[in-house]
Symmetry: C2
Subunit: 247 residues, 2 copies
DNA sequence: CGGCTTCTTGATCAAGGTCAACCTTTGTGG
DNA sequence: CCACAAAGGTTGACCTTGATCAAGAAGCCG
């Protein structure tokens, strides 16, 4: 983890996006006081480790990361892929103690926030708290669906679902949507996120390709027939959400 | 849904439990203003329906319920079982629009809260909001683990996990823990919650019994060897949590 | 050019889904 | 209280999905 030059909150490009709640002057001033540093982490390096007691809170500024759980038998379940704007470490900062790990998928850069200070959020910043709760509930909605996908759909459908969800999250962030997007996940990540084995991920990808629905090539995702892919995977779209919180 | 006599918030027996955040006088007064009625719903009847636009918010007062998603192909994924003290309908009350359904598993009774009014929570009740966020994050932790269980464990382990989690939730609520507890789920509920078929639920229950770990008899769960069951299912205990919100 | 990790493919086999028949419990109306 | 219907549970046969293992092929560094 290497420190780099500060990005001032005031001109933060992430915040400009429609996805996020616009801040008042006062709110912006508060958020700016939280920020303590800006760091980078190379691909495949840990951002939060399971044992650690850091209390730090991060906003993912650029790059991809993932959150995972390690089961007693050693296997890994990826819980979520994190994209720019996502908060990292709210749970440990707030509840104390950490459950999960977060690892950089690509090289990432992070805003470091003073974790203990977010408690002050609750006194005098009702707008920010509303946005926080909305963000949490929105995430819960995504989690609900993901649970249903793991519980009820098979390999190819699971992959198709993740593809569309990820694509749409990128679009919400302002990716100028064509029919493709970056997709740095390796087979292993797909397997660990979707509860499949490596080889089965391959067979499933083959099927998606054979049906002319989508392919992954060269770290990019190509959606060949969005309509049919959505029907195939049972994907019904992200909810358009009202001002997420970004810190 | 039938209206019944009010239970006054002031003397609400649920609130006495250690599990929930104690209220100040002022907070209690605020919460009491939210309450509009007290109703009952018979077993297997809907509490919240997918299409509806009710804006009502409930606290489950007694009985069990479950939250589920209906997939495009008609199958049902149970997302969560709801126990007394759990909030029902926060997501629709706050985000508007509803994703999921909630159905009574046993006969239940519910506190009806004025959903639109919870927005006032954010102005002037920081203690309650902290408890709300803590509750949401705590639930997220449970969801994370459940996702890992669905993604990575097989039938018998999944069932064992759900048994222990449910048992411990009841204990947290003040059930005087012996080695058994009420367990009103039918095979179908287990199947739909855990992503299994009805017959496989049976085979898996047989295995748990044959190993001397646990049985379900007569709507009650009997934990025969907690130690070994936990090891078998990869269950590591609920987190002791700090004052959940109850409304 | 080794020595990595990742991807691909095929063979084998266990987990678990589907279907069907039958049985048991629960609930309902006479 | 009984008769019957409906819902839920049990069991077995059969077959699909997907895990596991292994061996080889690309890529991708240093």
């Amino acid at each position: 983890m290497r420190a780099t030059r500060h990005v001032p909150c005031k001109t933060c490009p992430l915040r400009q996006q429609r996805l996020f709640k616009p801040f008042s002057e006062q709110e912006l001033r508060f958020v700016a006081t939280l920020k303590t540093a800006h760091v980078t982490v190379p691909a495949n390096q840990p951002i939060l480790e399971l044992g650690a007691q850091s209390g730090a809170l991060y906003t993912l500024f650029s790059g991809w990361a993932f959150r995972y759980l390690r089961l007693p038998d050693g296997s890994r379940q990826i819980l979520d892929f994190l994209l720019p704007g996502d908060l990292i470490g709210l749970q440990p900062a707030f509840l104390g103690g950490i459950n999960y790990g977060v690892t950089a998928l690509t090289a990432v850069s992070l805003c470091v926030l003073h974790g203990a200070a977010i408690d002050a959020l609750f006194d005098g910043h009702p707008g920010l708290v509303r946005a926080l709760v909305a963000t949490l509930l929105e995430e819960k909605r995504r989690t609900d669906r993901r649970l249903a996908v793991l519980g009820r759909r098979q390999g190819p459908q699971r992959i198709g679902y993740l593809m569309l969800e990820t694509f749409d999250r990128l679009v919400q962030q302002g990716l100028d949507a064509g029919t493709e997007c970056p997709f740095p996940l390796r087979r292993r990540h797909l397997a660990d996120a979707l509860g499949l084995s490596g080889s089965h991920v391959n067979r499933s990808l083959d099927e998606l390709q054979a049906r002319g629905l989508a392919t992954i090539e060269d770290r990019r995702l190509l959606i060949r027939d969005r309509e049919r892919l959505a029907a195939f995977a049972g994907y019904t779209g992200l909810n358009e959400l009202m001002g997420r919180l970004i810190l």
